[in-house]
């Protein structure tokens, strides 16, 4: 293998953020070498799709905003992305959204925890969930939402909440149920 400073040199030649993101997810050494070269995300967007060929895991950066999109694919290192990369890139994130196209597949408690905990240092003002089945997510995991002090709006669109959720809803919510603080 090559010494660390040469790994930094080589990965520094990658131009596209998507390539840098993929390189960061290959192994621990590469993650350490390149995570500082990844732009901090201003928005985090989860898109869980059953069709892996249409998977859109990416980190797109424009002049002001950069959007980190993650997925549930193993090929995109879902766990690494959520547990290791998200906390490092989410310091400027103001909006978090999760959209699921999966039918019958629930959002796992650990994924929900990793996603909310990964943004714990972010100045989140907006959270949006669409078509997400929360029945496997524990209420205390969802309660992490309360730790975002700058939060102004939470959108729940066609989501299924846990049975023992504080509001008591267990069935699919109306199409536009918007909770505002």
């Amino acid at each position: 293998g090559l010494p660390d400073e040469l790994v930094v040199e080589i990965l520094g030649k990658l131009e596209e953020n998507e390539d840098k993101l993929s390189a960061a997810l290959t192994c621990r050494r590469f993650l350490t070498a390149i995570h500082k070269k990844l732009p901090l995300a201003t928005a985090v967007c989860g898109q869980f799709s059953g069709n892996h060929s249409e998977c859109r895991a990416s980190l797109k950066s424009r002049s002001v905003t950069s959007v980190l999109t993650f997925c549930q694919c193993e090929s995109h290192g879902r766990k690494q992305m959520m547990h290791l990369l998200l906390p490092r890139l989410s310091k400027d994130v103001s909006s978090l959204s999760l959209e699921s196209e999966l039918i019958g597949e629930r959002l796992s408690d650990s994924a929900a925890h990793a996603m909310l905990d990964g943004c714990s240092s972010a100045p989140l003002s907006s959270i949006s969930f669409e078509h997400v089945d929360f029945t496997a997510v524990r209420p205390w995991t969802l309660a992490l939402i309360a730790s975002f002090h700058r939060l102004q709006e939470v959108h729940l669109l066609s989501c299924i909440l846990p049975r023992d959720c504080c509001c008591g809803h267990s069935r699919r919510l109306c199409t536009h149920c918007v909770v505002s603080r």
């Binding site: 090559l2 040199e9 080589i10 030649k13 390539d19 993929s22 390189a23 290959t26 090929s75 690494q80």
Partner: protein
């Protein structure tokens, strides 16, 4: 001014010795410093051979590259991240690296030349070889990158479990 005919002997890590022109070695920060340290002035003949921590086979490739690039401008132009485009490798350099593709240990050869360019402080060669390696992984998936660079995924389940444990208090 360095006289083109002035020569310097290099000894390799596997005991070989190679004599090359100062016109080539001037591109190597390491060799030039060694010569300056040994001799009274820049144009003096070095008192003894310069030992380099590079094997003979790799040094031959380095010398081949230096011979082609002997007239390159010095110092090597520093570039910002925006200016460093990975696709601007000169045609000769591309052909030079492609020759190794037929070798079984092609990747090892590239690694050896990158390491040698770093040790000998040859900025142009280091830049080119690093770009070449970066180009190999451009546009590839995480798995493909691991395969090309022969990397092991070392993010362990234990580590991920450790993170989950932080939330375990509320499960009991």
């Amino acid at each position: 001014r360095i006289y083109p005919l002035m020569r310097v002997t290099l000894t390799t890590s596997d005991g070989a010795s190679v004599t090359v022109s100062r016109q080539l070695t001037k591109h190597s920060g390491f060799i030039e410093k060694a010569i300056t340290d040994m001799a009274v002035d820049d144009n003096a003949v070095p008192l003894s051979a310069v030992a380099v921590d590079v094997d003979d086979a790799t040094l031959k490739l380095v010398i081949e590259w230096l011979t082609e690039h002997r007239d390159d401008a010095l110092p090597y132009p520093e570039k910002t991240d925006e200016e460093r485009r990975a696709d601007d490798i000169p045609a000769w350099d591309q052909a030079f690296v492609q020759k190794w593709d037929t070798k079984e240990d092609q990747q090892q050869t590239l690694y050896a030349v990158i390491t040698a360019a770093d040790k000998l402080d040859i900025k142009g060669l280091l830049d080119m070889t690093c770009k070449t390696l970066a180009n190999k992984i451009n546009g590839k998936t995480v798995e493909e990158m691991r395969e090309i660079l022969q990397l092991e995924c070392d993010f362990t389940e234990e580590e991920l479990a450790e993170i989950r444990k932080e939330n375990a208090w509320c499960e009991n």
